[in-house]
């Protein structure tokens, strides 16, 4: 697979899905995102990202059950794929490398 670049929101959404114990659909993802970042997201933005991640092969989806508060509509449930896990790991590795290359004491100098 060719190198895929993930946007910030894509990475966050992928992480949220990875963090949940079972399959999730749009609303919980959106709420979790809000809780973690303190920013608000629209349903359309979350959906767009989810589908895009699915298209890239990082998520898989299945149709889930309907509930009353959805007006009887079914959910589309997303789960992390192996490729999705791999890309998260790659990102983490890359970040770790970058962290390690920060010269020692730099943050101290900045007073952090």
């Amino acid at each position: 697979m060719k190198k895929t670049v993930l946007g910030e929101l894509e990475e966050l959404v992928l992480l949220v899905v990875a963090a949940s114990t079972e399959e999730v659909y749009g609303v919980p993802v959106m709420e979790e995102l809000q809780r973690q970042t303190g920013r608000s997201f629209t349903v359309s933005a979350v959906h767009t990202t989810l589908y895009r991640l699915e298209e890239k092969g990082f998520l898989s989806s299945s149709v889930g059950g309907a509930t009353a508060e959805r007006g009887g509509r079914r959910k589309r449930l997303f789960a992390l794929t192996a490729a999705g896990g791999r890309v998260l790991l790659e990102i983490q590795q890359m970040r770790n490398q970058l962290w390690q290359s920060i010269p020692e004491g730099k943050f101290d100098l900045l007073g952090l």
């Binding site: 659909y25 349903v43 359309s44 979350v46 767009t48 508060e69 509509r73 079914r74 959910k75 589309r76």
Partner: protein
């Protein structure tokens, strides 16, 4: 996907999400995404209702829905295609192409016929557009008008009009009516002048008009400005004229002479006015005041209400409507002129009206002094013809499609049996006709670009395809759509209405499905309509041609051969004319040179107020006047029928006159020779010494005006030099010699000659144009009809192959079979003739009423066109029927 009623609906069921938002969402979002997005949105909505209340939740919901209006949610993924539409369309096109390829002959007929029809319609469309946009180059064309006057002869109660006004009228209009008119411009008639520099002489058409003209006509000034005509000795040239005279040099402040007597300085250059404008022929403008200053006789008419010679143009004030201005100006003569003029105006019921610029071209014919039709008739006529030609082509298409339907009936049956809806079949056939129309359109574009130069020449236009204008393409799109529907609608609905059971069971022979007796009826009607149109056009062409021939065969009254005229427009001619004549005669090429006050092909001067013995006081007393020099009669070869010509042997001939035949009849004198005609002053009189045959000088379709010829021995009124080249010498040989003489005797004059026979031929140009166009359309109509007939005949022959085979086996001869197959078509043509002949007779009689000298519509015209149509039909049909009759019956029956 729509909202289902749900038994477990939450307690907020009565306060649902905003309806508009759901509608919008359902309409916009792709179906495969809708359910999940809408579900999530609603889930959030109900949570928010609990948290922040209904109103706010609703607002947020709407807002969230609006966020979904992105291309992402709208797109239909190729992974999840919407199969119905594109696949079916692709299939339709494929089937259409296969059908075209399978029946190459029919396809050719269809596409060629339709393309030709479309090409003609588009050509006519271009022509009509050009006609309708006449004079619209001028931005103010809606507010520009020319002043005209109506007058009623109190004796005969006949109203007539003129656009020649008096000089003081311009002054009065400017003084008393200035709040109605933004510009009131005196002008002279557009005329041909010679512009000369030191080393160049060039004939150019020009207009002397007041300075406001440049602004009124909204000319595009390339050099100078709208004030460029304010100086007395100024001239503004068109770009082409400037380039012709000065080349690429800057013409500003260069000096020119008009007719070698008026000195002018170039003060401006304007972009050429396109040809489809009244002033399109004008190549320079010069100030009116300069023309007045250069012509003593005009200066003398400054306060003369008796001399009407000048056009007056006005532009309305922006706030004034034409009606208001007309109402106000109507009684101009009664109100704003001196007493004696007002009295005359009351007696002759003078009425002034404005002739607006947008009627100058299309309504150029005047009846009783008022505009009444003109080119607009042709715009309508050609518009109708264009539509008819297109209709013929569409009829062909319908005819062939429905005729071939028997072949496709099975396909339709199968399609229906496996579940095609009628709607889908309609779509299929419409997309087929779209395909054919698109192909035809491409072909027609090619045809137009080939035919346009020829068409321009015939129609005397400068048309081009405006390919750079988006409007043109938009129009084409509409045109294609309309044509496709016109041509495809009937077959589409007709074919899709077949009942599959009937079609597939096949009551007669297997393979073909016989349509009922009456199924052929509409087809026959269509063929009849086509031939009615074609035959009417054939008859029309013959009649127009015959009318032109009739007028051309009319005795002209003089001899045009080898006759050339040159305007005598240079003051240096004075006193040199006799020298010129003798020099010309010395060349040995010239039989004679004489002078007249009007060219032979026009009447420039009319005069009234004559009186004679036994004159009925009620009848009009105006005559066409021409002053001629000694020997003019011999040079032009007029034919004396009584009396004698002017002669130097009689010294008193300057008080004598010659009249034409019409005048002799009009005077009502038994023997006019020797009678005296008294002038309007009651004192002067002239004696008639000769009568000549009428010379055709104005319209060859009208009776010639009663005319007097006066002797002009010292060339005082002469304006035209007529030269007769010896019949033994060719013009190409003689002209250089003649020119050399002119150059020697009057070097400053331009040698701008015209052949009289060419000038005379121009009188027919309008009718010849109609004749050419009519024959062009008739040929096309016949061609298109024949294509249709050919297709139909070949189809019917093909259908009856088996019948023909059986008949042949039973002993029918080829002739029998040919008769059998042709009979039906001949019958149709006879019906078409029955309709076409009265129609053509009606319209052509009406057309001929326009001409006083007109040909008759004789029976042989109908006979010839009827026989012609029959012959063409038989030829077309025979090709197919003989082919069918010659087929070996073994071949046609073997498959049984």
């Amino acid at each position: 996907m729509s909202k289902q009623p749900n038994p477990n609906e939450p307690p907020y069921a009565g306060s649902p999400t905003p309806r508009w938002a759901d509608r919008l969402l359902e309409w916009f979002v792709a179906p495969h995404l809708l359910e999940y997005v809408q579900g999530d949105l609603q889930e959030v909505f109900y949570k928010r209702v609990e948290q922040v209340g209904l109103t706010r939740a609703r607002r947020e919901y709407g807002w969230a829905v609006l966020h979904c209006l992105t291309p992402f949610f709208h797109k239909s993924l190729s992974k999840h295609p919407q199969p119905a539409l594109t696949d079916m369309l692709r299939n339709y096109v494929k089937i259409a192409f296969r059908n075209l390829a399978k029946n190459k002959g029919y396809s050719f007929i269809n596409i060629a016929g339709l393309a030709m029809g479309m090409a003609v319609t588009m050509l006519i469309g271009l022509w009509i557009y050009d006609e309708l946009s006449f004079n619209q180059y001028h931005k103010n064309y809606e507010t520009i008008a020319q002043v005209r006057r109506l007058y009623t002869d109190p004796n005969i109660q006949k109203t007539d009009g003129t656009d020649a006004m008096q000089l003081p009228m311009g002054t009065a209009l400017k003084r008393n009516y200035q709040h109605y008119f933004k510009h009131t411009l005196m002008a002279w008639w557009v005329g041909e002048y010679t512009l000369s520099t030191e080393d160049k002489k060039m004939p150019k058409k020009g207009e002397f008009i007041e300075a406001g003209a440049l602004e009124m006509l909204s000319l595009n000034m390339l050099k100078g400005n709208y004030a460029s005509l304010t100086e007395l000795h100024s001239i503004v040239l068109s770009k082409s004229a400037s380039e012709a005279i000065f080349g690429q040099e800057d013409p500003i402040n260069k000096r020119l002479k008009i007719d070698n007597r008026i000195e002018v300085t170039v003060t401006g250059v304007y972009e050429d006015i396109p040809r489809n404008n009244r002033f399109g022929e004008v190549q320079f403008f010069s100030p009116w005041d300069l023309w007045v200053a250069s012509n003593d006789w005009i200066k003398q008419t400054e306060n003369d209400w008796g001399n009407s010679s000048f056009p007056i143009y006005v532009q309305l004030q922006p706030t004034i409507s034409l009606e208001t201005a007309n109402a106000r100006i109507n009684d101009f003569y009664q109100k704003s002129t001196p007493k004696d003029m007002a009295g005359r105006a009351a007696k002759y019921k003078y009425a002034v009206f404005l002739y607006p610029m947008n009627e100058w071209h299309l309504y150029s014919e005047l009846k009783n002094g008022r505009p009444a039709g003109g080119r607009i008739t042709f715009v309508w006529l050609f518009g109708i013809v264009g539509l008819f030609v297109l209709l013929l082509a569409c009829i062909n298409f319908m005819n062939l499609s429905t005729a071939r339907s028997e072949k496709r009936a099975k396909e339709i049956g199968v399609r229906k049996a496996i579940g095609s809806l009628k709607n889908q079949l309609v779509q299929q056939f419409l997309s087929e006709s779209f395909l054919v129309v698109m192909l035809s359109f491409v072909v027609s574009m090619v045809l137009i670009s080939i035919a346009l130069p020829w068409f321009n020449q015939v129609a005397d236009k400068e048309l081009s395809l405006p390919v750079e204008r988006p409007l043109f393409w938009l129009f084409n799109l509409v045109f294609i759509t309309v044509t496709a529907f016109l041509a495809g609608a009937y077959p589409a609905f007709y074919l899709s209405a077949f009942q599959p059971v009937k079609v597939l069971k096949g009551p007669s022979s297997p393979g073909t499905f016989r349509l009922g007796r009456f199924a052929a009826l509409p087809r026959k009607i269509l063929v009849v309509v086509q031939f009615v149109v074609s035959i009417v056009l054939i008859i029309g062409t013959i009649v127009v041609y015959k009318q032109i021939q009739f007028a051309q065969d009319r005795p002209v009254g003089y001899n045009r051969e080898g006759l050339i005229t040159i305007p005598k427009n240079d003051p240096k001619y004075a006193g040199k004319l006799d020298v010129l004549r003798s020099e010309l005669l010395n060349t040995g090429m010239v039989a004679g040179m004489e002078l007249s006050s009007s060219p032979l092909t026009a009447v420039r001067n009319n005069m009234g107020g004559f009186n004679w013995k036994g004159k009925d006081p009620e009848i009009a007393d105006d005559f066409a006047l021409t002053d001629v020099s000694y020997g003019f009669g011999q040079v032009v070869g007029w034919q004396l029928i009584a009396g004698r010509d002017f002669s130097k042997a009689f010294t008193t001939d300057s008080t004598k006159m010659i009249i034409n035949e019409s005048a002799a009849n009009y005077l009502g004198l038994k023997n006019p020779i020797g009678e005296f005609i008294t002038f309007y002053d009651g004192k002067t009189s002239r004696q008639i010494i000769g009568v000549v045959k009428d010379m055709v000088r104005t319209s060859p379709y009208e009776p010639q005006k009663r005319a007097f010829f006066f002797l002009d021995a010292n060339y005082a009124a002469a304006s035209q030099i007529a030269i007769k080249i010896k019949p033994t010498v060719s013009a190409t040989e003689a002209l250089p010699k003649i020119e050399a003489v002119f150059k020697k005797v009057v070097p400053s004059a331009a040698f701008d000659y015209k052949f009289v026979d060419e000038e005379y031929a121009k009188k027919f140009s309008n009718e010849e144009r109609i004749s050419k166009l009519a024959s062009f359309f008739a040929t096309l109509a016949i061609f298109i009809s024949c294509l249709g007939l050919f297709g139909l005949a070949s189809f019917i022959a093909e259908q009856r192959t088996k019948e023909i085979g059986v008949r042949k086996v039973l002993g029918a001869s080829v002739l029998n079979l040919w008769g059998l197959l042709s009979k039906d078509f001949v019958f149709l043509i006879v019906i078409a003739l029955g309709i076409a002949i009265p129609t053509a007779w009606y319209f052509l009689t009406g057309w001929l009423q326009n001409y006083t000298y007109r040909t008759e519509i004789s029976w042989w015209i109908f006979a010839v066109s009827g026989l012609g149509a029959l012959l063409v039909t038989l030829l077309t049909v025979s090709f197919q029927s003989i082919k069918a009759a010659l087929i070996n019956p073994v071949k046609s029956l073997r498959s049984e």
